[in-house]
């Protein structure tokens, strides 16, 4: 029983992490029609920033580091969007290729700067003690991580659904030409959304650090998970990303524990199933 509950919690925390990663991907795709293949690299950049900062300045708080790394990665993402992606507005294929090239550059740069060994991110000391609930022992940090993911989901929902900025983003998603015509600065929205998506990925990288630690190839491990989540949930749908993240979190965690060698096959079975019967994804809309 203890096994199932602990693995269930691990699934939830991986799902939460995946949501933080894929929500940004999904937002960017929804507004900009851009499959941002740099997203895994943004996540890894965040993890490395966190790991290095907390190694060199011991006593640095994890939450402060996560916010700081998020801001840095958001700024880098914004620069990339302004300097490179805007030049390729009418060339969606070129945009994808450029994000892929950027992913190669970032992951190789991380290898040059920080070497091939994995660098751990310490769990905050006040979260190291396990939590006892209903007679079971839980790693506290993972519980907190699930809470953060749910809070982020609510925050993003409020931002997209209840604010003026969110209304402008939704208008841009639905019909970017009409949105431009009524005076919404769609081009600036692109930059804002790209920064937001990159920043969430960077912060998620730090928060995932205590579980994953920073190592070369982290980006290549995370990007396919994010892709599968958004293909499963429906590309561009925030709710789809939320549901998809937890489905994949469960499948991947239990797959790895129960059938370690087949975890990757089990991972893509639900994706095939969904694509076969609902190509737009669980919560995607046709024609988007």
């Amino acid at each position: 029983m203890q096994f199932w509950i602990i693995q269930g919690l691990n699934s939830l925390s991986l799902g939460g992490l995946l949501f933080l990663l894929s929500s940004g991907f999904s937002l960017i795709f929804g507004l900009m029609r851009l499959a941002n293949l740099t997203h895994g690299a943004f996540f890894m950049l965040g993890t490395y920033f966190g790991a290095i900062a907390m190694r060199d300045y011991s006593g640095l708080d994890l939450w402060v580091t996560a916010i700081g790394a998020g801001i840095i990665v958001a700024a880098l993402g914004g620069l990339f969007e302004r300097l490179v992606l805007t030049r390729l507005k009418s060339n969606p294929l070129g945009q994808v290729l450029v994000t892929l090239g950027m992913a190669f550059i970032i992951s190789d740069a991380c290898l040059v700067l920080w070497g091939g060994d994995s660098i751990p991110v310490p769990t905050p000391h006040y979260l190291q003690a396990p939590t006892r609930l209903f007679g079971f022992v839980f790693p506290t940090y993972r519980l907190v991580l699930v809470g953060i993911a749910v809070a982020a989901a609510i925050g993003l929902y409020v931002l997209i659904d209840r604010t003026r900025l969110g209304a402008m983003i939704r208008a841009g998603v639905d019909d970017s030409q009409m949105a431009r015509a009524v005076g919404i600065p769609v081009s600036r929205l692109f930059t804002i959304v790209f920064c937001l998506g990159a920043g969430i990925a960077g912060a998620a990288g730090v928060l995932g650090g205590p579980i994953l630690s920073a190592y070369p190839g982290l980006d290549a491990d995370m990007l396919p998970l994010a892709l599968i989540v958004v293909i499963l949930g429906g590309i561009g749908s925030l709710f789809g990303a939320f549901v998809g993240s937890f489905i994949i979190g469960f499948i991947y965690t239990f797959g790895t524990v129960l059938f370690p060698e087949l975890a990757y096959i089990i991972l893509f079975l639900p994706m095939i199933f969904v694509i076969a019967f609902r190509p737009q994804g669980l919560f995607g809309r046709l024609g988007t």
């Binding site: 499959a35 450029v98 090239g101 950027m102 190669f104 290549a220 370690p260 990757y264 893509f268």
Partner: protein, 311 residues
């Protein structure tokens, strides 16, 4: 002009083993392998309008199957090659069913996800694939009793295969089926109205491209006598895609030239620094931003612009 270039290329290709050293002969063999691979990807990207980021799947799986069949199960090369090609084509047929549910960016993301899954499998299923150590001790086949161990012998083998591949793919895109493929790329709805089945046209092309990907994978594993999960990685797919785009996607011979350039660059750079991935990324940015139609048209445009500025 075109015929002179072809005659010149044919002369160099035929005479190369007689005047060049082993290093250059081996380099040329690698170029032919990369060219077959890039040409097969070009069927999808250039003529079909389906940008795949998972083409390394076919090269890698064909190579792995052949390597496993010969080293682990002791099969003869002929039987192993047949199983490997049939298996890879069957996989392409299945992947095509999945990936072609979507078009455009959805197709790209699904092919990328599928190939990443295979890459992960090659790493994790270490009791079969040997994981990060790769599979060693692979031999080269001996077609009709001729040993391919020497660089020159392998060169002829690769050259003949590449010429057959080039002719077969040229016939494919020049045929009436090739015309319908280009029609489906540009005007799928109109083609559907004319009675074509766009999905079927795309799927057949996808499987055919998988077949030539498998052939290049066999040559790849014969040449290297070694296979490692990196041959299934996104980098491997991206190198081929860069070759296609740099050479000019949708042209007949351009991708072969592009693949040759990427391979030469990789060999040249690897001799000095280890930073191939970073350079690959930078070249991607450069090609897409400066020469999106490929190097040859890009250079022509650049030259024209310089001429205009000077006059």
């Amino acid at each position: 002009m075109k015929w002179i270039a072809i005659a010149l290329f044919a002369a160099v290709a035929l005479l190369l083993p007689f005047f060049a050293g082993d290093f250059y002969v081996n380099l040329a063999s690698q170029i032919y392998i990369a060219a077959i691979f890039a040409l097969s990807l070009n069927l999808l990207v250039g003529f079909g309008g389906m940008t795949s980021l998972g083409h390394a799947s076919y090269l890698g799986v064909a190579a792995y199957v052949s390597a496993l069949m010969t080293t682990r199960y002791g099969l003869h090369h002929g039987a192993a090659a047949l199983i490997s090609i049939l298996g890879t084509v069957a996989m392409a047929a299945f992947f095509g069913l999945i990936a072609l549910r979507a078009t455009g960016l959805g197709f790209l993301m699904i092919t990328l996800a599928l190939s990443q899954v295979l890459w992960g499998l090659a790493y994790r299923m270490s009791n079969i694939t040997n994981g990060d150590n790769g599979i060693t001790g692979i031999t080269r086949p001996e077609p009709f009793g001729i040993s391919l161990e020497s660089p020159a012998a392998f060169y002829w083998f690769a050259l003949i295969t590449a010429v057959i591949a080039f002719v077969m793919m040229t016939v494919f895109v020049s045929s009436s089926f090739g015309s319908s493929l280009k029609g489906v790329r540009d005007q799928p709805r109109r083609m559907a109205a004319l009675g074509f089945n766009p999905w079927m046209v795309r799927w057949i092309t996808f499987v055919y491209a998988g077949f030539w990907g498998a052939i290049s994978g066999l040559l790849y594993v014969y040449y290297n006598k070694y296979i490692h999960p990196t041959s299934l990685s996104t980098t491997s797919s991206a190198e081929a895609l860069l070759g296609v785009i740099a050479g000019g996607s949708g042209t007949l011979a351009g991708p072969a030239v592009g693949a040759a350039l990427v391979l030469l660059l990789k060999n040249y750079v690897s001799a000095y620094v280890e930073r191939w991935n970073m350079l690959l990324g930078l070249v991607f940015l450069f090609i897409v931003l400066v020469m999106p139609e490929g190097i040859v048209p890009g250079l022509q445009k650049l030259a024209a612009r310089l001429r205009r500025r000077s006059s």
